[in-house]
Symmetry: C2
Subunit: 148 residues, 2 copies
Amino acid sequence: MPKLDLDSIEQTNRTGYPAPYDQEVSGRWYRRLAPAGGLTQFGVSQVTLKPGAWSSQRHWHDEEDEFLVMISGEAVLVEDEGPTVLRAGDCAAFPAGVKDGHHLRNESDSDCVFVVVGSGAGGTGGYSDIDMMWTADDRYVHKDGTPY
Amino acid sequence: MPKLDLDSIEQTNRTGYPAPYDQEVSGRWYRRLAPAGGLTQFGVSQVTLKPGAWSSQRHWHDEEDEFLVMISGEAVLVEDEGPTVLRAGDCAAFPAGVKDGHHLRNESDSDCVFVVVGSGAGGTGGYSDIDMMWTADDRYVHKDGTPY
């Protein structure tokens, strides 16, 4: 059945972020839609941000293209040049290798929902505001390479 | 600027479908978002269906995963087992090689909008209801291989 039964797909707020960077994403609840739909060629997640929650620490991907579309509610997209409000239907694209970190913050009083796509290219990435990056084998390390 | 200025991206109802199969998609207006956003690793389009319009002839991809999320309005997803209504936030996944053709029909009185992602794997594909398929070099042919 191509239509996904979203309610039946596990929703989690898991994160691998080391403390204290996990705090801001504790109200980020996501479902991995690609495996649920039998897709293997790219990644797709549905993400709900509770009021106050962030989608991630402000990050970029060195090798992986990323795209998102807002479904409901309102979020603030933050990057180097400042904030931009996103509402239902708004789309944003983050080409691999552009070292301008981005994330979404729910600064409203209601949940917001978006769908985010990643190519699945994997690879490394970095964070704009904190002393952290991730490795090609998905470990979080300081910018000098020492582990958390 | 990661947020896409959708209004500035060309919207077209072009199709390569041979007559008479082009008729049902004449009210399908789409924008290619990936190139506009600098993305090269997968394809993304925003599609508006006018009342009565179809997203495509009912088709499948032999090699390419496809995913869509409804943004606004209402569409009917048609596949072999019948119709399913999709509304804002609903998602559907179409794994490569599943030869159960799908398309969306706008049977409502208002526009509907969805975002569709394809992996970019390309390759061949087929149509469920008509004597047509497409080749790896993107030509439409009869199911016996003769060109239109």
